[in-house]
C-alpha cells in the first residue's frame, strides 16, 4: 500500500480542484491536439503531394531533368525544352507492357491558366491522393472538338459555368498575346476540387490544340488565311508532336523495364520518370517547411506544459497545510514528490485522452471543409503508431515537467515541518 495509494490521492486531490485543474487540462489537451493535428495534416499533405498523380506508372517527355519533366507535365510550371514526336508516342503506346497512355500537349494558356490538350482518357486514368478519381462537379468530358473542361480553381476564378465560351490565347502569357478568338471553346464540364494542379488547368482535346493552330505558322496567324470553326470541324487532325505522355503499365514491375527501355529510345532522346519517386524528390526540397511545422509543434506543447507546471506550482502555497498533514501522518518527502508527479502524470494522461477526442471531433467537422476547399482529404483512422508515440512522448514530458513542482513540494514540506500556522 505504497504506490497506488499515492495515485488515488493524486486523483482525489485533482478532483478537489476541478475548476483550475479542468482549465489546465483543457489547455494542455488543446495543445496536444494541435500537435497531433499538425502531424496528421503534415502526413496527409505529404501523402497527398506524393500522390499528386497516383494513377500513372510513368511520365514520359523529352530528355531533360526528372524534376523539370515533373514540373511542366504535372504542375504546369516551366516549359518543355522539346516535344515528343507523334510517331515515338505511338511506338511507346504499342509496347507490350503498356496498359494505357494519355498524351498531353501543353503550350497555350487561357487568362493565366494553362491549357492542356489531351484525350478523354485523362479523366479516367488520372488519380490523386488515395487513388481518387477525378469527379465532375458539373457537365461532362469534352465531346465536341471545341469543348473544354475546366478545373475547379479556373471555374471559381473566372466564374465559368457549363456552357460558357472560352477563348484560348497562344503562348503562356496572361494577357496581350495573340488569341485564338476565331475559334472559341465552350465549357462542357467543371471538375471538382482535387488540391492538385488539375484545379488550375483548362482541358481541351488533343485535336483541338491542332485545330486552333491549323491556320498558324511559327507562332502567329498566316496572313490572309483564316479557317472558321465550322470548317475546321470537318477536318481530321493528327498531332505531329506532343509534350508528354502518362503511361500505365500492366504490372508495377513492368514500369522499371519500360522506363529503362524508353530512356534508351533510339529514335529520339526521351526521359521516363516514376512520378512517385520524382514527387518525393521534390517534397524533400521543401524539407525546411516541414521542419518549421515540427518546431512549432514543440513550442505549442511546451506552452501547454508550462501552463500545467504553473498551475501546480501556484497551488503548492495553498496546499502547504495539506502537505503538512500528509507528512504528519507519515508521508515521506518521496511520497509527496510522487504525489505531485502523479498529479502531473494523471493530468497528462487525461489531457492526452481529451486531445484524441478533440482531434476526432475537429476532423469530423473539418474533413468535408478541407476536402472541398483545399482538396486535402484527411482520412479518419484509428490513432496510428506514430500518433500514439507522439502522445506517449507528450505524457512522459508532462510527467517529467511535474518533477519541478514535486521537488518544490518536498522542499516546502521539509521547511514547514508538521505545523503550518497560517
Amino acid at each position: 500500500m505504497s504506490r497506488a495509494p499515492i495515485l488515488s490521492l493524486a486523483v482525489k486531490s485533482l478532483m478537489n480542484r476541478r475548476l483550475t485543474v479542468g482549465l489546465t487540462l483543457f489547455a494542455l489537451a488543446v495543445s496536444m491536439m494541435l500537435v497531433l493535428g499538425v502531424e496528421k495534416v503534415r502526413g496527409e499533405a505529404k501523402l497527398s503531394f506524393a500522390n499528386t498523380i497516383s494513377g500513372a506508372d510513368l511520365i514520359v517527355g523529352a530528355r531533360s531533368g526528372s524534376i523539370q519533366l515533373l514540373l511542366y507535365s504535372v504542375f504546369r510550371i516551366g516549359n518543355a525544352t522539346n516535344n515528343i514526336s507523334w510517331k515515338s508516342y505511338q511506338q511507346i503506346a504499342a509496347r507490350p507492357g503498356v496498359a494505357w497512355t494519355v498524351p498531353m500537349s501543353l503550350g497555350d494558356s487561357h487568362r493565366g491558366f494553362r491549357v492542356l490538350g489531351t484525350t478523354g482518357d485523362f479523366f479516367w486514368h488520372y488519380r490523386h491522393g488515395r487513388k481518387r478519381n477525378l469527379k465532375f462537379s458539373g457537365g461532362k468530358p469534352f465531346n465536341d472538338l471545341f469543348d473544354a473542361v475546366v478545373g475547379s480553381d479556373v471555374a471559381k476564378a473566372l466564374g465559368y459555368n457549363v456552357g460558357d465560351a472560352v477563348v484560348v490565347a497562344h503562348g503562356l502569357g496572361r494577357e496581350g498575346f495573340k488569341t485564338h478568338s476565331d475559334k472559341p471553346f465552350k465549357v462542357s464540364g467543371v471538375l471538382a476540387k482535387t488540391g492538385t494542379p488539375v484545379d488550375r488547368t483548362v482541358f481541351v482535346s488533343l485535336e483541338a490544340i491542332e485545330a486552333i493552330h491549323v491556320d498558324w505558322q511559327s507562332g502567329s496567324p498566316i496572313p490572309g488565311m483564316s479557317i472558321g470553326a465550322d470548317k475546321v470541324r470537318q477536318m481530321k487532325f493528327t498531332p505531329k508532336a506532343i509534350t508528354a505522355v502518362l503511361v500505365g503499365t500492366k504490372s508495377r514491375f513492368g514500369a522499371f523495364g519500360l522506363q529503362r527501355s524508353i530512356n534508351e529510345f533510339p529514335a529520339e532522346p526521351l526521359l521516363a520518370i516514376l512520378p512517385g519517386v520524382a514527387l518525393q524528390e521534390l517534397w524533400d526540397l521543401m524539407g525546411t517547411a516541414e521542419l518549421a511545422l515540427s518546431v512549432i509543434s514543440v513550442f505549442v506543447i511546451a506552452a501547454g506544459l508550462l501552463g500545467m507546471v504553473t498551475m501546480l506550482l501556484a497551488g503548492l502555497n495553498e496546499r502547504r497545510r495539506e502537505l503538512a498533514i500528509l507528512r504528519s501522518v507519515g508521508a515521506q518527502p518521496r511520497h509527496l514528490f510522487a504525489l505531485l508527479a502523479a498529479e502531473a502524470g494523471t493530468l497528462s494522461v487525461a489531457a492526452a485522452g481529451a486531445a484524441l477526442a478533440l482531434l476526432y471531433g475537429v476532423f469530423l467537422i473539418a474533413q468535408p471543409i478541407l476536402d472541398a476547399e483545399f482538396g486535402l482529404f484527411i482520412e479518419i483512422t484509428s490513432p496510428s503508431r506514430h500518433d500514439l508515440t507522439v502522445l506517449g512522448m507528450m505524457i512522459v514530458a508532462g510527467t517529467l515537467a511535474g518533477f519541478l513542482p514535486a521537488w518544490r513540494a518536498c522542499r516546502q514540506a521539509l521547511a514547514d515541518g508538521l505545523i503550518v500556522r497560517t
Partner: protein, 242 residues
C-alpha cells in the same frame, strides 16, 4: 517503572544559527501509559518541542529518544517512517485532508505505515472495522459520516476524526497540539473523556500541549515549559520567535 516513551537530555535548539536558542531543556521524560499536560504561553517553545519529538527538527546539541530510539541517528526518510509507525498527531484545527472522506482521512496513516495497518487489522479485523470502532468510541456515526467529505463536519466532529486518525493502528505515542482550543467548553470535556479512554485502552503515552491551564487537573502529570526550558525567561514579554 514503565518504559520510557520520550526522553530529552540536554537538548538545545535554535531555528537559525544567528537566532538565540529557542529551546534548552536539560531533561524531560514521558513514560508509557502516562497522560502528560505540557503548558506554556505562546513563544515558550511548544511547537519546537513537538517538532523535536516528532523528528521533524534536529537539536544542535543533546539527544531526543523516542521508544528508546535516538532520532538523530535515523536518516530523514527513516525518521518519517518511524513517526508514521509509532506516533499519532492531532493539531489545533484544520487537521484533515479536505478532499478525502472521513474514513479515508482516518485510514491515512495506514497508507504510509504497514505496521499501523497491520495492527489495525489485528485489533479490529479490518481497516474499515477499525475506523468504524474508533468513530463509534468517539461517538460519531460511521454509517452516517464515514463516506462524507470532511468539510461537512462541525469543528468538534473534525477534531474527533483527527483523534481517530491519530489512534488508528495503536501507536505508542499520541501528540496533541492544542486540540481543544477551537472547541466549546462542554465539547472540550467530552473530547478529553474520549481521548483518555482510547489512550487507556491502547496503553499509549499522551503528550498534550496547551496554554489553557483549566484542562490541567484532568491529567496525571503536568509540566510547565517555562520551567523546563532554560531558553525562556520566566517572565515572558511579547515574543516573535516561533
Amino acid at each position: 517503572m514503565p518504559p520510557s516513551v520520550v526522553q530529552l537530555s540536554d537538548v538545545k535548539f535554535r531555528w537559525r544559527p544567528e537566532n538565540p536558542l529557542t529551546l534548552d531543556v536539560p531533561g524531560f521524560e514521558l513514560t508509557a501509559g502516562e497522560c502528560l499536560f505540557v503548558y506554556g504561553p505562546s513563544g515558550s517553545g511548544k511547537t519546537t518541542l513537538l517538532n523535536l519529538v516528532a523528528g521533524v527538527a534536529n537539536p544542535e546539541h543533546g539527544e531526543v529518544r523516542v521508544l528508546d530510539q535516538s532520532l538523530a541517528q535515523l536518516p530523514t526518510a527513516h525518521r518519517d517512517a518511524f513517526r508514521s509507525d509509532h506516533i499519532g498527531l492531532i493539531f489545533q484545527m484544520f487537521n484533515l485532508v479536505p478532499y478525502l472522506s472521513v474514513v479515508e482521512n482516518i485510514l491515512l496513516p495506514c497508507r504510509f505505515s504497514a505496521r499501523r495497518r497491520d495492527r489495525a487489522v489485528a485489533n479490529d479485523g479490518s481497516l474499515d472495522a477499525g475506523a468504524s470502532r474508533l468513530l463509534g468510541d468517539l461517538e460519531l456515526d460511521f454509517a452516517g459520516l464515514g463516506s462524507r467529505t470532511v468539510s461537512e463536519l462541525s469543528v468538534g466532529q473534525q477534531q474527533r476524526v483527527a483523534a481517530a486518525r491519530a489512534l488508528i493502528g495503536a501507536p505508542e505515542l499520541i501528540i496533541a497540539d492544542e486540540p481543544t482550543s477551537s472547541l466549546d467548553a462542554d465539547v472540550q470535556q467530552a473530547f478529553l473523556d474520549l481521548l483518555f479512554n482510547e489512550v487507556k485502552q491502547t496503553g499509549a503515552a499522551l503528550l498534550f500541549v496547551s496554554h489553557d491551564r483549566r484542562l490541567e487537573p484532568r491529567f496525571t502529570r503536568s509540566v510547565s515549559l517555562t520551567d523546563i526550558n532554560n531558553a525562556v525567561t520566566p517572565s515572558p514579554g511579547p515574543q516573535l520567535s516561533p
